[in-house]
Amino acid sequence: MFLPRILESIDTSISEKYLNELLEMNQITKEHGLVLTPEEVKNMMIVRSQALCSYGRVELDIAMTKELVAVFCTSSYINNDNFATILNELHEIFYYLKNETEDQIGDYKLIHMMKDYFDYDCGGSLELLKSKIEGFIEDFRKGVGLKESLFERDEF
Protein backbone atom coordinates (compact mmCIF):
# COMPACT_ATOMS: atom_id res chain seq x y z
CA MET A 1 0.00 0.00 0.00
CA PHE A 2 1.45 3.30 -1.13
CA LEU A 3 -0.43 5.69 1.13
CA PRO A 4 0.40 4.32 4.60
CA ARG A 5 4.04 4.19 3.53
CA ILE A 6 4.21 7.84 2.57
CA LEU A 7 2.41 8.88 5.73
CA GLU A 8 4.72 6.68 7.77
CA SER A 9 7.75 8.30 6.13
CA ILE A 10 6.83 11.55 7.79
CA ASP A 11 6.16 9.73 11.06
CA THR A 12 9.63 8.21 10.97
CA SER A 13 11.20 11.63 10.79
CA ILE A 14 9.33 12.75 13.86
CA SER A 15 9.45 9.48 15.82
CA GLU A 16 11.96 11.06 18.17
CA LYS A 17 9.43 13.78 18.88
CA TYR A 18 6.76 11.15 19.59
CA LEU A 19 9.10 9.28 21.91
CA ASN A 20 9.73 12.42 23.93
CA GLU A 21 6.08 13.33 24.05
CA LEU A 22 5.20 9.91 25.44
CA LEU A 23 8.02 9.96 27.95
CA GLU A 24 6.71 13.32 29.13
CA MET A 25 3.46 11.53 29.93
CA ASN A 26 5.35 9.93 32.82
CA GLN A 27 4.87 13.23 34.66
CA ILE A 28 1.15 12.41 34.83
CA THR A 29 1.35 8.64 35.23
CA LYS A 30 3.89 8.65 38.02
CA GLU A 31 1.26 10.21 40.29
CA HIS A 32 -0.35 6.77 40.02
CA GLY A 33 2.93 4.95 40.48
CA LEU A 34 3.33 4.18 36.78
CA VAL A 35 6.32 4.93 34.59
CA LEU A 36 7.12 3.87 31.03
CA THR A 37 10.75 3.29 30.06
CA PRO A 38 12.14 4.51 26.72
CA GLU A 39 12.33 0.85 25.60
CA GLU A 40 8.69 0.27 26.47
CA VAL A 41 7.65 3.41 24.58
CA LYS A 42 9.66 2.38 21.51
CA ASN A 43 8.09 -1.04 21.62
CA MET A 44 4.65 0.52 22.01
CA MET A 45 5.22 2.58 18.85
CA ILE A 46 6.12 -0.60 16.97
CA VAL A 47 2.99 -2.36 18.26
CA ARG A 48 0.93 0.69 17.27
CA SER A 49 2.33 0.70 13.73
CA GLN A 50 1.70 -3.03 13.34
CA ALA A 51 -1.86 -2.69 14.65
CA LEU A 52 -2.57 0.22 12.32
CA CYS A 53 -1.24 -1.78 9.41
CA SER A 54 -3.15 -4.94 10.25
CA TYR A 55 -6.42 -3.04 10.69
CA GLY A 56 -5.86 -1.02 7.51
CA ARG A 57 -5.69 2.38 9.13
CA VAL A 58 -3.51 5.45 8.97
CA GLU A 59 -2.94 7.75 11.92
CA LEU A 60 -1.80 11.34 11.81
CA ASP A 61 -0.31 11.72 15.27
CA ILE A 62 -0.06 10.00 18.63
CA ALA A 63 -2.93 11.87 20.32
CA MET A 64 -4.84 8.61 20.71
CA THR A 65 -1.88 6.84 22.35
CA LYS A 66 -1.42 9.75 24.76
CA GLU A 67 -5.11 9.65 25.61
CA LEU A 68 -4.90 5.89 26.28
CA VAL A 69 -1.98 6.44 28.65
CA ALA A 70 -3.66 9.35 30.44
CA VAL A 71 -7.01 7.60 30.86
CA PHE A 72 -5.85 4.10 31.78
CA CYS A 73 -3.15 5.16 34.24
CA THR A 74 -5.90 5.88 36.78
CA SER A 75 -7.16 2.28 36.73
CA SER A 76 -6.69 0.43 39.98
CA TYR A 77 -6.10 -2.78 37.98
CA ILE A 78 -2.93 -1.47 36.39
CA ASN A 79 0.48 -1.54 38.01
CA ASN A 80 3.96 -0.73 36.82
CA ASP A 81 4.59 -4.36 35.79
CA ASN A 82 1.60 -4.71 33.46
CA PHE A 83 1.22 -1.07 32.33
CA ALA A 84 3.15 -1.32 29.05
CA THR A 85 1.70 -4.75 28.15
CA ILE A 86 -1.86 -3.59 28.76
CA LEU A 87 -1.32 -0.42 26.74
CA ASN A 88 -0.05 -2.51 23.82
CA GLU A 89 -3.15 -4.73 23.96
CA LEU A 90 -5.38 -1.67 24.23
CA HIS A 91 -3.99 -0.30 20.96
CA GLU A 92 -5.07 -3.52 19.21
CA ILE A 93 -8.52 -3.39 20.77
CA PHE A 94 -8.94 0.28 19.98
CA TYR A 95 -8.19 0.06 16.25
CA TYR A 96 -10.33 -3.05 15.94
CA LEU A 97 -13.21 -1.20 17.61
CA LYS A 98 -12.62 1.85 15.43
CA ASN A 99 -13.03 -0.24 12.29
CA GLU A 100 -15.99 -2.21 13.54
CA THR A 101 -17.85 0.96 14.51
CA GLU A 102 -17.10 2.36 11.04
CA ASP A 103 -15.38 5.50 12.34
CA GLN A 104 -18.67 6.80 13.60
CA ILE A 105 -17.51 7.24 17.19
CA GLY A 106 -14.78 9.65 18.21
CA ASP A 107 -11.51 8.50 19.79
CA TYR A 108 -12.14 10.15 23.13
CA LYS A 109 -15.51 8.49 23.61
CA LEU A 110 -14.25 5.07 22.64
CA ILE A 111 -11.27 5.25 24.99
CA HIS A 112 -13.45 6.29 27.92
CA MET A 113 -15.94 3.56 27.14
CA MET A 114 -13.11 0.99 27.09
CA LYS A 115 -11.87 2.32 30.43
CA ASP A 116 -15.34 2.06 31.99
CA TYR A 117 -15.75 -1.52 30.77
CA PHE A 118 -12.22 -2.40 31.92
CA ASP A 119 -12.71 -1.03 35.43
CA TYR A 120 -16.37 -1.74 36.16
CA ASP A 121 -17.47 -4.71 34.04
CA CYS A 122 -14.31 -6.65 33.43
CA GLY A 123 -12.41 -6.29 36.71
CA GLY A 124 -9.24 -5.36 34.84
CA SER A 125 -9.35 -8.44 32.57
CA LEU A 126 -8.35 -7.81 28.95
CA GLU A 127 -10.03 -11.05 27.87
CA LEU A 128 -13.33 -9.92 29.40
CA LEU A 129 -12.83 -6.48 27.87
CA LYS A 130 -12.49 -8.04 24.41
CA SER A 131 -15.66 -10.04 24.94
CA LYS A 132 -17.50 -6.96 26.21
CA ILE A 133 -16.33 -5.03 23.17
CA GLU A 134 -17.70 -7.77 20.91
CA GLY A 135 -21.09 -7.34 22.56
CA PHE A 136 -20.89 -3.61 22.06
CA ILE A 137 -20.07 -4.03 18.39
CA GLU A 138 -23.03 -6.36 17.99
CA ASP A 139 -25.31 -3.77 19.55
CA PHE A 140 -23.76 -1.08 17.39
CA ARG A 141 -24.48 -3.09 14.27
CA LYS A 142 -28.05 -3.60 15.29
CA GLY A 143 -28.27 0.06 16.08
CA VAL A 144 -29.65 -0.94 19.47
CA GLY A 145 -28.54 0.48 22.76
CA LEU A 146 -25.97 2.72 21.14
CA LYS A 147 -27.26 5.94 22.58
CA GLU A 148 -27.91 4.46 26.04
CA SER A 149 -24.46 2.93 26.30
CA LEU A 150 -22.41 5.77 24.96
CA PHE A 151 -24.02 8.91 23.83
CA GLU A 152 -26.59 9.95 26.32
CA ARG A 153 -26.25 13.44 24.96
CA ASP A 154 -26.43 12.34 21.38
CA GLU A 155 -23.00 13.49 20.37
CA PHE A 156 -22.41 11.77 17.04
Binding site: I6, L7, I10, R57, V58, E59, L60, Y95
Partner: protein, 478 residues
Protein backbone atom coordinates in the same frame (compact mmCIF):
# COMPACT_ATOMS: atom_id res chain seq x y z
CA UNK B 1 -0.18 33.51 -7.48
CA UNK B 2 1.95 35.49 -9.92
CA UNK B 3 2.36 34.34 -13.47
CA UNK B 4 5.57 32.44 -14.08
CA UNK B 5 8.48 34.39 -15.40
CA UNK B 6 8.81 33.35 -19.07
CA UNK B 7 12.59 33.33 -18.92
CA UNK B 8 12.53 30.87 -15.99
CA UNK B 9 10.28 28.57 -17.97
CA UNK B 10 12.59 28.93 -20.92
CA UNK B 11 15.43 27.63 -18.73
CA UNK B 12 13.36 24.57 -17.85
CA UNK B 13 12.63 23.82 -21.45
CA UNK B 14 16.34 23.94 -22.24
CA UNK B 15 17.10 21.44 -19.43
CA UNK B 16 15.10 18.66 -20.99
CA UNK B 17 12.31 18.13 -23.39
CA UNK B 18 8.97 17.32 -21.87
CA UNK B 19 7.13 14.77 -23.93
CA UNK B 20 3.45 15.54 -23.87
CA UNK B 21 2.69 11.96 -24.82
CA UNK B 22 4.22 10.89 -21.48
CA UNK B 23 1.71 13.00 -19.59
CA UNK B 24 -1.69 11.74 -18.53
CA UNK B 25 -4.51 14.20 -18.12
CA UNK B 26 -6.19 11.72 -15.79
CA UNK B 27 -3.22 11.73 -13.35
CA UNK B 28 -1.67 14.96 -14.43
CA UNK B 29 0.34 16.03 -11.37
CA UNK B 30 1.90 12.61 -10.87
CA UNK B 31 2.78 12.34 -14.56
CA UNK B 32 4.24 15.87 -14.48
CA UNK B 33 6.46 14.94 -11.51
CA UNK B 34 7.60 11.76 -13.26
CA UNK B 35 8.28 13.66 -16.46
CA UNK B 36 10.05 16.40 -14.49
CA UNK B 37 12.32 13.78 -12.96
CA UNK B 38 12.97 12.06 -16.29
CA UNK B 39 13.96 15.30 -17.98
CA UNK B 40 15.90 16.39 -14.88
CA UNK B 41 13.87 19.57 -14.63
CA UNK B 42 13.11 18.34 -11.12
CA UNK B 43 15.74 16.69 -8.94
CA UNK B 44 15.13 14.06 -6.27
CA UNK B 45 15.26 16.59 -3.45
CA UNK B 46 12.62 18.77 -5.14
CA UNK B 47 10.36 15.77 -5.67
CA UNK B 48 10.81 14.82 -2.01
CA UNK B 49 9.85 18.38 -1.00
CA UNK B 50 6.76 18.24 -3.19
CA UNK B 51 5.81 14.88 -1.64
CA UNK B 52 6.29 16.21 1.88
CA UNK B 53 4.08 19.19 1.13
CA UNK B 54 1.44 16.90 -0.36
CA UNK B 55 1.46 14.77 2.78
CA UNK B 56 1.03 17.82 4.99
CA UNK B 57 -1.98 18.92 2.95
CA UNK B 58 -3.37 15.40 3.17
CA UNK B 59 -2.91 15.34 6.93
CA UNK B 60 -4.73 18.64 7.31
CA UNK B 61 -7.55 17.38 5.12
CA UNK B 62 -7.89 14.19 7.15
CA UNK B 63 -8.08 16.31 10.31
CA UNK B 64 -10.84 18.40 8.76
CA UNK B 65 -12.58 15.24 7.64
CA UNK B 66 -12.69 13.74 11.13
CA UNK B 67 -13.47 17.17 12.60
CA UNK B 68 -10.92 16.48 15.32
CA UNK B 69 -12.96 13.53 16.59
CA UNK B 70 -10.49 10.94 15.42
CA UNK B 71 -6.76 10.88 14.79
CA UNK B 72 -6.93 7.86 12.49
CA UNK B 73 -8.91 6.88 9.41
CA UNK B 74 -9.12 3.74 7.30
CA UNK B 75 -6.80 3.33 4.30
CA UNK B 76 -9.82 3.60 2.01
CA UNK B 77 -10.87 6.92 3.51
CA UNK B 78 -7.33 8.30 3.38
CA UNK B 79 -6.89 7.13 -0.21
CA UNK B 80 -10.19 8.73 -1.17
CA UNK B 81 -9.11 12.04 0.37
CA UNK B 82 -5.73 11.77 -1.34
CA UNK B 83 -7.43 11.17 -4.71
CA UNK B 84 -9.69 14.15 -4.08
CA UNK B 85 -6.66 16.30 -3.25
CA UNK B 86 -4.80 15.22 -6.38
CA UNK B 87 -7.95 15.95 -8.41
CA UNK B 88 -7.82 19.60 -7.28
CA UNK B 89 -4.11 19.88 -8.07
CA UNK B 90 -4.67 18.33 -11.50
CA UNK B 91 -7.53 20.76 -12.08
CA UNK B 92 -5.33 23.79 -11.62
CA UNK B 93 -2.25 22.49 -13.42
CA UNK B 94 -4.29 21.25 -16.38
CA UNK B 95 -5.95 24.60 -16.65
CA UNK B 96 -2.55 26.20 -17.29
CA UNK B 97 -2.54 24.21 -20.53
CA UNK B 98 1.25 24.28 -20.53
CA UNK B 99 3.25 21.38 -19.00
CA UNK B 100 6.46 23.43 -18.72
CA UNK B 101 4.67 26.13 -16.82
CA UNK B 102 2.95 23.50 -14.64
CA UNK B 103 6.29 21.92 -13.67
CA UNK B 104 7.70 25.35 -13.00
CA UNK B 105 4.82 25.99 -10.61
CA UNK B 106 5.39 22.68 -8.82
CA UNK B 107 9.07 23.57 -8.52
CA UNK B 108 8.66 27.16 -7.42
CA UNK B 109 5.47 27.59 -5.44
CA UNK B 110 4.04 26.18 -2.26
CA UNK B 111 1.94 23.15 -3.14
CA UNK B 112 -0.67 24.44 -0.72
CA UNK B 113 -1.09 27.51 -2.96
CA UNK B 114 -1.54 25.36 -6.04
CA UNK B 115 -3.97 23.17 -4.14
CA UNK B 116 -6.04 26.17 -3.00
CA UNK B 117 -6.18 27.43 -6.59
CA UNK B 118 -7.21 23.94 -7.68
CA UNK B 119 -10.07 23.88 -5.19
CA UNK B 120 -11.23 27.19 -6.66
CA UNK B 121 -11.11 25.73 -10.18
CA UNK B 122 -13.17 22.72 -9.05
CA UNK B 123 -15.62 24.98 -7.22
CA UNK B 124 -15.99 27.17 -10.30
CA UNK B 125 -16.57 24.10 -12.46
CA UNK B 126 -19.20 22.87 -9.99
CA UNK B 127 -21.02 26.23 -10.19
CA UNK B 128 -20.96 26.13 -13.99
CA UNK B 129 -22.23 22.54 -13.88
CA UNK B 130 -25.14 23.56 -11.68
CA UNK B 131 -25.99 26.38 -14.08
CA UNK B 132 -25.81 24.03 -17.07
CA UNK B 133 -28.11 21.62 -15.29
CA UNK B 134 -30.62 24.38 -14.58
CA UNK B 135 -30.70 25.26 -18.28
CA UNK B 136 -31.25 21.64 -19.27
CA UNK B 137 -33.84 21.03 -16.56
CA UNK B 138 -36.02 23.94 -17.74
CA UNK B 139 -36.51 22.63 -21.30
CA UNK B 140 -36.04 18.89 -21.54
CA UNK B 141 -37.14 17.13 -24.71
CA UNK B 142 -40.71 15.92 -24.54
CA UNK B 143 -39.92 12.24 -25.05
CA UNK B 144 -40.95 9.14 -23.11
CA UNK B 145 -37.44 7.70 -22.90
CA UNK B 146 -37.14 6.65 -19.28
CA UNK B 147 -33.32 6.71 -19.05
CA UNK B 148 -33.25 10.25 -20.47
CA UNK B 149 -35.92 11.55 -18.12
CA UNK B 150 -34.58 9.73 -15.04
CA UNK B 151 -31.07 11.00 -15.67
CA UNK B 152 -32.30 14.60 -15.80
CA UNK B 153 -34.90 14.37 -13.06
CA UNK B 154 -33.20 12.07 -10.56
CA UNK B 155 -29.57 11.08 -11.16
CA UNK B 156 -28.11 14.51 -11.86
CA UNK B 157 -29.81 16.22 -8.89
CA UNK B 158 -28.41 13.49 -6.62
CA UNK B 159 -24.92 14.26 -7.89
CA UNK B 160 -25.37 18.00 -7.45
CA UNK B 161 -26.65 17.45 -3.92
CA UNK B 162 -23.97 15.00 -2.79
CA UNK B 163 -20.86 16.26 -4.53
CA UNK B 164 -18.10 17.09 -2.04
CA UNK B 165 -15.32 19.32 -3.36
CA UNK B 166 -12.94 18.81 -0.46
CA UNK B 167 -13.10 15.10 0.33
CA UNK B 168 -14.64 13.42 -2.69
CA UNK B 169 -14.00 15.70 -5.66
CA UNK B 170 -12.87 12.84 -7.91
CA UNK B 171 -16.02 10.81 -7.32
CA UNK B 172 -18.69 10.94 -10.01
CA UNK B 173 -21.26 9.34 -7.67
CA UNK B 174 -24.16 9.43 -10.09
CA UNK B 175 -25.80 6.52 -11.82
CA UNK B 176 -26.29 8.10 -15.20
CA UNK B 177 -28.07 5.65 -17.46
CA UNK B 178 -28.75 7.79 -20.51
CA UNK B 179 -25.89 7.27 -22.96
CA UNK B 180 -24.42 10.17 -24.91
CA UNK B 181 -23.54 9.71 -28.56
CA UNK B 182 -19.88 10.31 -27.67
CA UNK B 183 -18.66 10.12 -24.10
CA UNK B 184 -15.31 10.12 -22.32
CA UNK B 185 -15.81 8.12 -19.16
CA UNK B 186 -12.17 8.33 -18.15
CA UNK B 187 -12.85 11.80 -16.82
CA UNK B 188 -13.95 11.81 -13.20
CA UNK B 189 -15.92 13.92 -10.77
CA UNK B 190 -17.49 17.23 -11.64
CA UNK B 191 -15.44 17.61 -14.82
CA UNK B 192 -17.12 14.49 -16.16
CA UNK B 193 -20.59 15.72 -15.24
CA UNK B 194 -19.88 19.10 -16.80
CA UNK B 195 -18.71 17.46 -20.00
CA UNK B 196 -21.79 15.19 -19.91
CA UNK B 197 -24.14 18.15 -19.52
CA UNK B 198 -22.42 20.21 -22.22
CA UNK B 199 -22.78 17.36 -24.68
CA UNK B 200 -26.32 16.58 -23.59
CA UNK B 201 -27.25 20.23 -24.05
CA UNK B 202 -25.71 20.24 -27.50
CA UNK B 203 -27.54 17.04 -28.43
CA UNK B 204 -30.82 18.52 -27.20
CA UNK B 205 -30.24 21.74 -29.15
CA UNK B 206 -29.75 19.69 -32.29
CA UNK B 207 -32.90 17.63 -31.65
CA UNK B 208 -34.89 20.86 -31.22
CA UNK B 209 -34.13 21.75 -34.84
CA UNK B 210 -36.77 19.17 -35.74
CA UNK B 211 -40.48 19.00 -35.03
CA UNK B 212 -41.07 17.26 -31.72
CA UNK B 213 -43.88 15.19 -33.28
CA UNK B 214 -41.47 13.91 -35.93
CA UNK B 215 -38.94 13.06 -33.25
CA UNK B 216 -41.53 11.22 -31.19
CA UNK B 217 -42.69 9.33 -34.26
CA UNK B 218 -39.10 8.37 -35.10
CA UNK B 219 -38.72 6.93 -31.60
CA UNK B 220 -41.91 4.90 -31.99
CA UNK B 221 -40.78 3.62 -35.38
CA UNK B 222 -37.39 2.77 -33.89
CA UNK B 223 -39.11 0.70 -31.17
CA UNK B 224 -41.31 -1.05 -33.75
CA UNK B 225 -38.38 -1.87 -36.02
CA UNK B 226 -36.30 -3.25 -33.19
CA UNK B 227 -39.26 -5.06 -31.62
CA UNK B 228 -38.79 -3.52 -28.20
CA UNK B 229 -40.27 -0.86 -25.98
CA UNK B 230 -38.11 2.14 -26.83
CA UNK B 231 -39.18 3.84 -23.60
CA UNK B 232 -37.16 1.49 -21.43
CA UNK B 233 -34.21 0.86 -23.72
CA UNK B 234 -30.80 2.52 -23.49
CA UNK B 235 -29.99 4.37 -26.71
CA UNK B 236 -29.02 7.85 -27.79
CA UNK B 237 -31.77 10.04 -29.24
CA UNK B 238 -29.41 12.52 -30.95
CA UNK B 239 -27.72 9.78 -32.94
CA UNK B 240 -31.07 8.47 -34.15
CA UNK B 241 -32.17 11.96 -35.17
CA UNK B 242 -28.89 12.86 -36.88
CA UNK B 243 -28.83 9.60 -38.81
CA UNK B 244 -32.38 9.94 -40.05
CA UNK B 245 -31.83 13.58 -41.02
CA UNK B 246 -28.79 12.51 -43.04
CA UNK B 247 -30.82 9.74 -44.67
CA UNK B 248 -33.58 12.23 -45.44
CA UNK B 249 -31.13 14.53 -47.26
CA UNK B 250 -29.57 11.58 -49.08
CA UNK B 251 -32.94 10.40 -50.35
CA UNK B 252 -34.04 13.79 -51.62
CA UNK B 253 -35.96 14.80 -48.53
CA UNK B 254 -35.74 17.96 -46.52
CA UNK B 255 -32.91 18.46 -44.00
CA UNK B 256 -35.43 19.18 -41.27
CA UNK B 257 -37.42 16.05 -42.03
CA UNK B 258 -36.92 12.90 -40.02
CA UNK B 259 -39.51 10.73 -41.73
CA UNK B 260 -38.19 8.18 -44.17
CA UNK B 261 -40.89 6.69 -46.38
CA UNK B 262 -40.73 3.18 -47.78
CA UNK B 263 -39.88 4.67 -51.18
CA UNK B 264 -37.03 6.69 -49.70
CA UNK B 265 -35.81 3.58 -47.90
CA UNK B 266 -35.77 1.57 -51.13
CA UNK B 267 -33.89 4.38 -52.84
CA UNK B 268 -31.29 4.46 -50.03
CA UNK B 269 -30.97 0.68 -49.95
CA UNK B 270 -30.27 0.59 -53.71
CA UNK B 271 -27.79 3.43 -53.36
CA UNK B 272 -25.81 1.85 -50.53
CA UNK B 273 -25.79 -1.52 -52.24
CA UNK B 274 -24.35 0.01 -55.41
CA UNK B 275 -21.70 2.19 -53.80
CA UNK B 276 -18.35 1.01 -52.52
CA UNK B 277 -17.07 1.95 -49.06
CA UNK B 278 -15.37 5.19 -50.04
CA UNK B 279 -18.40 6.28 -52.05
CA UNK B 280 -20.69 5.55 -49.11
CA UNK B 281 -18.41 7.65 -46.92
CA UNK B 282 -18.42 10.49 -49.44
CA UNK B 283 -22.22 10.37 -49.85
CA UNK B 284 -22.90 10.42 -46.11
CA UNK B 285 -20.41 13.21 -45.43
CA UNK B 286 -21.83 15.28 -48.26
CA UNK B 287 -25.30 14.85 -46.78
CA UNK B 288 -23.97 15.80 -43.35
CA UNK B 289 -22.44 19.00 -44.77
CA UNK B 290 -25.73 19.83 -46.48
CA UNK B 291 -27.50 19.28 -43.18
CA UNK B 292 -25.21 21.79 -41.47
CA UNK B 293 -25.89 24.41 -44.13
CA UNK B 294 -29.63 23.84 -44.34
CA UNK B 295 -30.10 23.82 -40.58
CA UNK B 296 -27.78 26.84 -40.09
CA UNK B 297 -25.46 24.99 -37.76
CA UNK B 298 -22.37 27.10 -37.13
CA UNK B 299 -21.29 26.08 -33.62
CA UNK B 300 -17.86 24.45 -34.18
CA UNK B 301 -18.35 22.12 -31.20
CA UNK B 302 -21.62 20.90 -32.65
CA UNK B 303 -20.05 20.47 -36.10
CA UNK B 304 -17.18 18.49 -34.61
CA UNK B 305 -19.59 16.34 -32.61
CA UNK B 306 -21.70 15.68 -35.72
CA UNK B 307 -18.58 14.74 -37.66
CA UNK B 308 -17.55 12.17 -35.05
CA UNK B 309 -21.04 10.67 -35.06
CA UNK B 310 -21.08 10.62 -38.85
CA UNK B 311 -17.92 8.55 -38.77
CA UNK B 312 -19.76 6.00 -36.68
CA UNK B 313 -22.75 6.10 -39.06
CA UNK B 314 -20.52 5.45 -42.08
CA UNK B 315 -19.20 2.27 -40.45
CA UNK B 316 -22.70 1.10 -39.56
CA UNK B 317 -24.04 1.71 -43.06
CA UNK B 318 -21.09 -0.07 -44.70
CA UNK B 319 -21.64 -3.04 -42.40
CA UNK B 320 -25.43 -3.05 -42.83
CA UNK B 321 -25.17 -2.79 -46.63
CA UNK B 322 -22.82 -5.73 -46.64
CA UNK B 323 -25.04 -7.90 -44.44
CA UNK B 324 -28.35 -6.73 -45.85
CA UNK B 325 -29.57 -5.22 -42.60
CA UNK B 326 -30.08 -1.59 -43.58
CA UNK B 327 -33.60 -1.75 -42.17
CA UNK B 328 -32.12 -1.67 -38.65
CA UNK B 329 -30.08 1.47 -39.41
CA UNK B 330 -32.54 3.52 -41.43
CA UNK B 331 -35.62 4.16 -39.32
CA UNK B 332 -38.49 4.06 -41.76
CA UNK B 333 -42.02 5.14 -41.13
CA UNK B 334 -44.17 2.25 -39.95
CA UNK B 335 -47.81 2.66 -40.68
CA UNK B 336 -50.12 2.36 -37.68
CA UNK B 337 -51.82 -0.98 -37.65
CA UNK B 338 -55.60 -0.88 -37.85
CA UNK B 339 -56.91 -1.27 -34.31
CA UNK B 340 -60.14 -3.15 -34.28
CA UNK B 341 -59.70 -4.21 -30.73
CA UNK B 342 -60.51 -2.32 -27.64
CA UNK B 343 -57.82 -2.63 -25.05
CA UNK B 344 -59.54 -3.25 -21.77
CA UNK B 345 -56.85 -1.77 -19.60
CA UNK B 346 -56.80 2.00 -19.54
CA UNK B 347 -54.00 3.98 -17.98
CA UNK B 348 -56.35 6.80 -17.08
CA UNK B 349 -58.16 4.45 -14.74
CA UNK B 350 -55.10 3.86 -12.57
CA UNK B 351 -55.54 3.95 -8.80
CA UNK B 352 -53.77 6.15 -6.30
CA UNK B 353 -51.06 4.46 -4.22
CA UNK B 354 -53.24 4.76 -1.15
CA UNK B 355 -56.27 3.07 -2.76
CA UNK B 356 -54.04 0.44 -4.27
CA UNK B 357 -52.62 -0.49 -0.85
CA UNK B 358 -56.12 -0.71 0.64
CA UNK B 359 -57.19 -2.96 -2.23
CA UNK B 360 -54.18 -5.28 -1.86
CA UNK B 361 -54.91 -5.62 1.86
CA UNK B 362 -58.55 -6.41 1.11
CA UNK B 363 -57.57 -9.02 -1.49
CA UNK B 364 -55.10 -10.65 0.90
CA UNK B 365 -57.71 -10.87 3.64
CA UNK B 366 -60.29 -12.57 1.37
CA UNK B 367 -60.64 -16.30 2.02
CA UNK B 368 -62.52 -17.27 -1.11
CA UNK B 369 -60.79 -17.15 -4.50
CA UNK B 370 -64.01 -16.00 -6.19
CA UNK B 371 -64.18 -13.01 -3.84
CA UNK B 372 -60.57 -12.09 -4.64
CA UNK B 373 -61.22 -12.28 -8.37
CA UNK B 374 -64.36 -10.21 -7.96
CA UNK B 375 -62.44 -7.52 -6.05
CA UNK B 376 -59.74 -7.43 -8.73
CA UNK B 377 -62.16 -7.32 -11.63
CA UNK B 378 -64.27 -4.58 -10.18
CA UNK B 379 -61.44 -2.36 -8.97
CA UNK B 380 -58.44 -2.76 -11.27
CA UNK B 381 -58.65 -1.20 -14.73
CA UNK B 382 -55.07 -0.29 -15.63
CA UNK B 383 -52.19 -2.55 -16.67
CA UNK B 384 -49.91 -0.85 -14.17
CA UNK B 385 -52.24 -1.64 -11.26
CA UNK B 386 -52.86 -5.15 -12.54
CA UNK B 387 -49.15 -5.97 -12.74
CA UNK B 388 -48.45 -4.31 -9.39
CA UNK B 389 -51.20 -6.44 -7.87
CA UNK B 390 -49.68 -9.60 -9.40
CA UNK B 391 -46.32 -8.63 -7.93
CA UNK B 392 -47.73 -7.89 -4.49
CA UNK B 393 -48.12 -11.55 -3.49
CA UNK B 394 -51.78 -11.19 -2.56
CA UNK B 395 -52.70 -14.29 -4.57
CA UNK B 396 -51.68 -17.88 -4.03
CA UNK B 397 -50.78 -20.57 -6.56
CA UNK B 398 -54.18 -21.79 -7.82
CA UNK B 399 -55.67 -18.32 -7.60
CA UNK B 400 -53.37 -17.01 -10.34
CA UNK B 401 -54.69 -19.65 -12.73
CA UNK B 402 -58.30 -18.81 -11.89
CA UNK B 403 -57.62 -15.12 -12.45
CA UNK B 404 -55.82 -15.64 -15.76
CA UNK B 405 -58.67 -17.83 -16.97
CA UNK B 406 -61.00 -14.86 -16.64
CA UNK B 407 -58.83 -12.75 -18.98
CA UNK B 408 -59.53 -12.26 -22.67
CA UNK B 409 -57.00 -12.87 -25.41
CA UNK B 410 -56.03 -9.21 -25.71
CA UNK B 411 -55.30 -8.99 -21.99
CA UNK B 412 -53.32 -12.24 -22.14
CA UNK B 413 -51.38 -10.85 -25.13
CA UNK B 414 -50.53 -7.68 -23.16
CA UNK B 415 -49.18 -9.80 -20.32
CA UNK B 416 -47.24 -11.90 -22.85
CA UNK B 417 -45.51 -8.77 -24.12
CA UNK B 418 -44.23 -8.24 -20.61
CA UNK B 419 -43.41 -11.83 -19.67
CA UNK B 420 -41.64 -12.53 -22.96
CA UNK B 421 -40.11 -9.06 -23.43
CA UNK B 422 -36.57 -10.33 -23.96
CA UNK B 423 -37.63 -13.11 -26.34
CA UNK B 424 -39.86 -10.83 -28.42
CA UNK B 425 -37.29 -8.07 -28.86
CA UNK B 426 -35.46 -10.23 -31.36
CA UNK B 427 -38.36 -9.92 -33.79
CA UNK B 428 -41.30 -12.20 -34.56
CA UNK B 429 -40.84 -15.72 -33.25
CA UNK B 430 -42.99 -18.82 -32.90
CA UNK B 431 -44.99 -18.00 -29.77
CA UNK B 432 -45.65 -21.67 -28.87
CA UNK B 433 -41.90 -22.28 -28.91
CA UNK B 434 -41.15 -19.27 -26.70
CA UNK B 435 -43.77 -20.44 -24.22
CA UNK B 436 -42.34 -23.96 -24.09
CA UNK B 437 -38.82 -22.75 -23.43
CA UNK B 438 -39.61 -20.04 -20.91
CA UNK B 439 -38.85 -20.68 -17.22
CA UNK B 440 -39.76 -17.51 -15.32
CA UNK B 441 -38.50 -16.72 -11.82
CA UNK B 442 -41.47 -14.62 -10.82
CA UNK B 443 -44.39 -16.56 -9.39
CA UNK B 444 -47.24 -14.96 -11.34
CA UNK B 445 -45.28 -15.34 -14.58
CA UNK B 446 -44.75 -19.01 -13.81
CA UNK B 447 -48.51 -19.54 -13.49
CA UNK B 448 -49.13 -17.42 -16.55
CA UNK B 449 -46.79 -19.56 -18.66
CA UNK B 450 -48.42 -22.72 -17.31
CA UNK B 451 -51.84 -21.40 -18.29
CA UNK B 452 -50.72 -20.50 -21.81
CA UNK B 453 -49.18 -23.94 -22.27
CA UNK B 454 -52.56 -25.48 -21.49
CA UNK B 455 -54.48 -23.42 -24.08
CA UNK B 456 -55.64 -24.76 -27.42
CA UNK B 457 -53.50 -24.15 -30.51
CA UNK B 458 -56.13 -21.82 -31.93
CA UNK B 459 -56.21 -19.65 -28.83
CA UNK B 460 -52.43 -19.48 -28.69
CA UNK B 461 -52.39 -18.45 -32.37
CA UNK B 462 -54.96 -15.78 -31.65
CA UNK B 463 -52.94 -14.41 -28.71
CA UNK B 464 -49.83 -14.44 -30.89
CA UNK B 465 -51.61 -12.33 -33.47
CA UNK B 466 -52.53 -9.76 -30.84
CA UNK B 467 -48.95 -9.75 -29.52
CA UNK B 468 -47.67 -8.48 -32.84
CA UNK B 469 -50.61 -6.10 -33.26
CA UNK B 470 -50.13 -4.34 -29.95
CA UNK B 471 -47.27 -1.86 -29.82
CA UNK B 472 -45.45 -1.28 -26.57
CA UNK B 473 -46.20 2.41 -26.53
CA UNK B 474 -49.88 1.53 -26.33
CA UNK B 475 -49.31 -0.27 -23.05
CA UNK B 476 -48.56 2.22 -20.35
CA UNK B 477 -47.29 0.01 -17.61
CA UNK B 478 -44.05 1.72 -16.72
Amino acid sequence: MELANPSSIQTLVVQGKIKKSYLSKYQYTISLINEGLRTRILDIQEVYDIQSQLILILKNLIRRYTQGESSSVSFETAEGILASMMYALDAYLLQLDDPEKAIFYLKSYHIQEIYDKGIEVVRQCFEETKELYREIRVHPLDVAVEAYNMTIEESLPIFLKKYNILFDAHNTMASIDYPLAIDDMRIQGVFYIKQYLERLKMEMEFCRLFKIQDLQETLINFGRICGFDYRIELFNIFELVLNNAIFSVLSGGDASDLKISVNQYNQLASLFTLLDESQIRFAIYTAKDRLQVDLNISNPNMINYMTQCTDELVQRVIHAAKYNSLNSVIITKKEDKPKSMMVLFKEADGMSDYHFRILVEAITECHQTEDKIQLIKSNIHSVQDFVDMLNSNCLFSEEYRVLFETLGEIELAILAKMVFYEELRNGPMDFSLIVTEKEPDIEWQLHYVELIKGLSKDRIASIEEYIYDIDYEEIKFY
